[in-house]
């Protein structure tokens, strides 16, 4: 379409949230869908992703690795099973959903960006950016946050993450493999409450998919302080501040 400005879909909420510095509105804020943008914080901080019902349906392999992680934790051998605690490596998906600090959600240019206060981490959900040629082969390597593809179902942002590294954990103990698939359904249950309904699948580690829900409350807008997890660890403080 040449140099014409492609008109992106705008929602009233996003326009209000994305007004340029001292200027007018923006052509780049997205929406048509509910505006999830804002600053959020987990309601009930927890290191554990609790199933909605019953215990986690481990396979034998999943149970074995889980028990091994418990023993390593008891021994304080964190680097052998949890490089987030020992090295500040990205917690990945879905564990980032449990970070105790605030995060922002931006929905711009077809991408939903989770902009975490913790260690300045990010996680992105691609809602509308066409796949580009992988000129540097980066797609060949599993990553902590994998690749999240999203779409809107009414008022709900549905994200499916695959391609994650097996070096992350589901939470502080629960393991998974390369075949992890995490489906998340994000929606506002009221203007100030965000719900993330999470479904975890990995046939090698779980005998069936299992669900969990994490809830967040909207926070006042803020410029986050520069959080450097490695500085905390170097000072012998926990990777996740209390």
């Amino acid at each position: 379409m040449g140099t014409e400005h492609k008109i992106t879909r705008l929602a009233i909420g996003a326009i209000a949230a994305a007004v340029a510095l001292g200027g007018s509105g923006t052509a780049l804020a997205q929406t048509a869908a509910p505006n999830l943008e804002g600053v959020w914080k987990i309601v009930t901080p927890s290191a554990t992703l609790k199933p909605l019902s019953g215990p986690i349906p481990f396979t034998a392999e999943g149970r074995k690795d889980y028990d091994a992680n418990r023993k390593l934790k008891a021994a304080g051998t964190y680097d052998a099973y949890d490089i987030t605690l020992s090295r500040c490596s990205s917690p990945g998906v879905p564990r980032l959903a449990l970070t105790p600090m605030r995060f922002k959600i931006w929905y711009r240019q077809g991408v939903v960006t989770f902009d975490y206060e913790w260690n300045r981490a990010i996680r992105q959900i691609n809602v509308g950016v066409p796949l580009q040629p992988d000129l540097m082969g980066q797609g060949l390597v599993p990553t902590m946050t994998g690749k999240s593809k999203g779409h809107w179902e009414g008022d709900t942002l549905v994200s499916v993450m695959e391609g994650g590294s097996d070096r992350t954990l589901i939470d502080d103990l629960v393991p998974h493999g390369f075949d992890l698939k995490v489906t998340e359904r994000f929606r506002l249950t009221d203007p100030d409450t965000l719900e993330d309904r999470i479904t975890v699948e990995d046939p090698a580690y779980f005998s069936k998919p299992w669900d969990s829900v994490v809830t967040y409350k909207r926070q006042p807008d803020a410029i986050f302080a520069e959080d450097v997890c490695l500085d905390r660890v170097a000072a012998h403080q926990p990777a996740f501040p209390k």
Partner: protein, 318 residues
Amino acid sequence: MTRRIPFSTWQMALAVTLTVMPTLASSQAGPPPGAPQGPPPGLQLPPGASGGPPPGAPPPVELTPAQKIVAALPPPGPGGLPPRPPLPADAVMPSADPRDLQGTWVHDKALEFRNQKDMYGALLPYTMEGAKVLSRRVNSLKVGKPFINASAICRPPGAPWQHDLNFPFQVIQTRDYAEFIFEEYHGRWHIALDGTRTPLPAGAPYMGRSVAHWDGGTLVVETSDFKQALWLDVDGTPFSASGKLVQRIRKVSDGGAVPYLEIVTTVIDPTYYTAPWSMIRSFAWAPHQAVFAEYNCEEQVGDPSVRGDAGLVPEPKD
């Protein structure tokens, strides 16, 4: 066990480029500090000219003792631009509002390993202390014992280093602040608008504290209060923690072409420079690169099986 290349080193290898890029003309209202008076030095005479230079030729530049030290250093390493997918024909375009800088951008010129000249082509006005620090760093490369810097240990390297890398970043704006989210180093550059209701947090961050105001269509950012000194580039052009950066950021439209983002950075640092000097960078519009590659340097920096400092050595203290 396979020995992995430290992540930061790998990333830097991708960012390797050719030598010094040609300076760009500044079309800003009022030049940044350091603009020379009269024609630029090093004016070339036309082939076959004789009888001396035509009237108005500048006198030969007299180097200061500090500049002589810097001029004698080995030249910076070469490199090239990493491959980048082309902008799709149907790509969303930047806002027409000059005060809306939002979107995804990527440095579109070869990375300068070392800022040898300012945006006007003049040699940098080093103090003897500045020349000493740069010499030490360049010579450490020459002898194969490069020094540790923020990048090597997975710490925020500062805005100039961050945006100079040929990797995308996203600019977000709200009513009260702008936020640059960089693909690399978990980079965040928060810029509070002067008089904002959303103030900067207390403390001195690695990235410094940035406050801005609009001058027409240019966002003028003043950044100071750094946690530690910065390396302005890969070779270690120095900048002290007490220095100040003034960044002039604007969109430039070349007669119907896709606009690009321009950042002119003025370095004000009496510790290392006798006068302010400025560098200019341009950034291509890249909405198709809005989905970033993951950057997770902590995984390898903390790996007991690899050198967390990427084999670099601590820099001597002055």
